[in-house]
Amino acid sequence: MTAAAPAGSPAGPSGSAPGDGGGPAPDGSADERLVHRSLPARLMRRPELGAVVGAIALFVFFSLVADSFLRASSLSTVLYFSSTIGIMAVPVALLMIGGEFDLSTGVMVTSSALVSSMFSYQMTANTWVGVGVSLLVTLAIGFFNGFMLTRTKLPSFIITLGTFLMLTGLNLGMTKLISGTVTTKSISDMEGFDSARAVFASTLTLGGVDVQITVVWWLALIVLATWILLRTRAGNWIFAVGGGVDAARAVGVPVGRTKIGLYMGVALAAWISGQHLLFNYDTVQSGEGVGNELIYIAAAVIGGCLLTGGYGSAVGAAVGAFIFGMANKGIVYAQWNPDWFKFFLGAMLLLATLLNAWIRKRAEVTR
């Protein structure tokens, strides 16, 4: 565990950024928090460094092999796809720093979209009412995950695997029961649709380049998550519960509340993604989203989160999502044989993660 320092001072002044890691306390020497470090040395210790280097490498690589990759419109496409993953990867990274998993994220996005769509349709209500109800329902699912985890003390893997399976079934069963088919009915002709679409699924033109609004949501979430992690008491708690639950509890960190909060944060992002899904495509397929949860986790890990918790950053997860987006679309831009698509994708992800791990190790040696 590399971030032991915050666990020792969970409620202390938040000036010392927990993202800097801290590391094991040196024996006998002066307080390590007071040691001045040069900028390169400080940079080398950021958890997202490996991901940033990997992203740059991948970017240069695809710029060379795919001539259409560097165009502004192409980059906007890559950013759009990255943002749809990144919106979820950022809170998932926070959760993983807090030491827990969530396997229900992929289908939770679909659930959120389904609730919103079906509530508006069945009640013939303004679509914003559906959006609000969906927010409550999705947050409730997140609360359920966190509550079950803290009450039962079972591993989050099992709890959220259960939620994942239940939601997959509920998505299908409820949609079939209510709509009569496996797809929701179109709500594009209902009141409030256009304004909701503007918020969740519109396209902005910045300097002649079309940028999807999901990119804005993504950036906002990165800023919010980074602020929480590095500048608030809750951020210290997150690092503390991920670094060592017992130690954290011993110094008075509200472990249960922190974890429930993290799950609800994931649910909030699932709600944003779900509304995007709904208002972008106007109907929702109830079977969608299965498998995406692993992509979110992968993005967070590529971005420097440890699977064991206590270490990582929101920016890193965002960069991880960007790496995934570049690899995924770069293969299309490079016009490679599609039969091998998944293989290239896997190999590229593995390479990015290895590079990431190698750089982190070097950074720890030079410390």
Binding site: V129, E191, N280, P338
Partner: protein, 344 residues
């Protein structure tokens, strides 16, 4: 001390959560929410789906349908609604089960045999895995009809007939239609890697189409992923003037991708749903090739009823084709209505 503090904190958090919930509820109430357009009310106004009441005096026979459908597949939903409609009219107890894995699908067929059904409808997406169990059913005297896939092996396995569309033929029909429309380079959008039927569709297009066909694999469970991949393809290859999607839900997504990529490519699709019907109407989708899933469900049940009642078999045991049917703008009007109620 610690417990006191914790309880005070949790009480505070409960209060905070309560406040948030109340605020959201208030916001929802403030919107006072009714929509004067669309929604359930509009549907009820136009709802005219056929009602179900038995019209025959034959005993209540039990017919099972076992398909290779995955969870939540729109297509199989329509097959089912056709089958249910026929079952209602023919006084039949209709049992439906599905599994996309061939081994488990075979087990489901075995379960139907164990239930002593009076008729069996199966799909043969992976024929060799289904061979034994279908033969077993035939040996037990259960009349079997195959639907959708497995036309080549249907009669060899002892099925009475096959109802469906040959995927290759459907692809060939698309290729010819693309020629007629003067297209030059098409992308075949596969949303499920390793699906034999999908490969056959693209191969069919390749066979009759005079232009070039390229395959593009996407992950069908991730819509933004599908959209951005199509966008990427259209941006990287400006010669592409046609995108053929293999499933109806992906057609509308491809239309969106095309608009975002600023491409002039035509979007065509296999299968049908209400958004495709709307797309045909407003011209954003060129044509759809339909295999009439409702008919596959309806006919298979009805044929088994006829067989039990009168030993009839349509086509004398030769495959009965339900497609390919090419649908264009001129068909769009009534299709829109039928797709909305989930029967086309």
């Amino acid at each position: 001390m610690a417990t006191v503090q914790r309880s005070r904190r949790s009480r505070a958090s409960v209060r905070a959560t309560g406040a948030v919930v109340a605020a959201v509820l208030a916001a929802v109430a403030a919107l006072a929410g009714c929509s004067s357009t669309g929604g359930k009310r509009a549907e009820e106004a136009r709802d005219q789906a056929a009602s179900g009441k038995a019209n025959v005096t034959t005993p209540r026979w039990k017919i099972a349908m076992v398909t290779h459908s995955g969870d939540g597949d729109t297509y199989w939903d329509i097959v089912q609604s056709g089958a249910k409609q026929a079952a209602a009219k023919d006084n039949i107890e209709f049992l439906y089960s599905h599994d996309k894995e061939a081994g488990r699908q075979a087990q489901l067929v075995q379960a139907a045999i164990d239930k002593k059904v009076d008729g069996l409808i199966v799909t043969l997406a992976k024929p060799s895995a289904m061979k034994n169990v279908v033969r077993k059913a035939v040996k037990k005297g259960i009349p079997v009809v195959t639907i959708n896939s497995g036309q080549e092996v249907s009669s060899a396995y002892g099925a009475l007939t096959h109802i469906g569309q040959d995927e290759q033929t459907a692809g060939e029909a698309v290729g010819k239609e693309l020629n007629r429309r003067g297209r030059e380079k098409a992308v075949c959008l596969l949303h499920e890697q390793g699906n034999v039927g999908h490969e056959q569709r693209c191969d069919g297009i390749r066979k009759t189409f005079d232009g070039k066909v390229e395959d593009l694999y996407v992950d069908g469970t991730n819509m933004p992923g599908v959209q951005s991949s199509v966008e990427a393809k259209l941006q990287s290859d400006k010669k592409v003037d046609t995108v053929v999607t293999l499933g109806a839900p992906f057609a509308a997504t491809a239309v969106q991708a095309k608009q975002d990529a600023g491409s002039k490519a035509e979007i065509d699709t296999f299968d049908l749903n209400s958004k495709v019907a709307t797309g045909l109407k407003d011209g954003s989708i060129g044509f759809a090739v339909d295999q009439q899933p409702y008919l596959q469900g309806y006919q298979s049940v009805d044929l088994l009823w006829l067989y039990r009642y009168n030993a009839d078999m349509l086509g004398g045991g030769k495959p009965v084709l339900t497609g390919p049917q090419i649908l264009t703008k001129k068909d769009a009007g009534k299709l829109e209505e039928f797709t909305k109620r989930g029967t086309r």
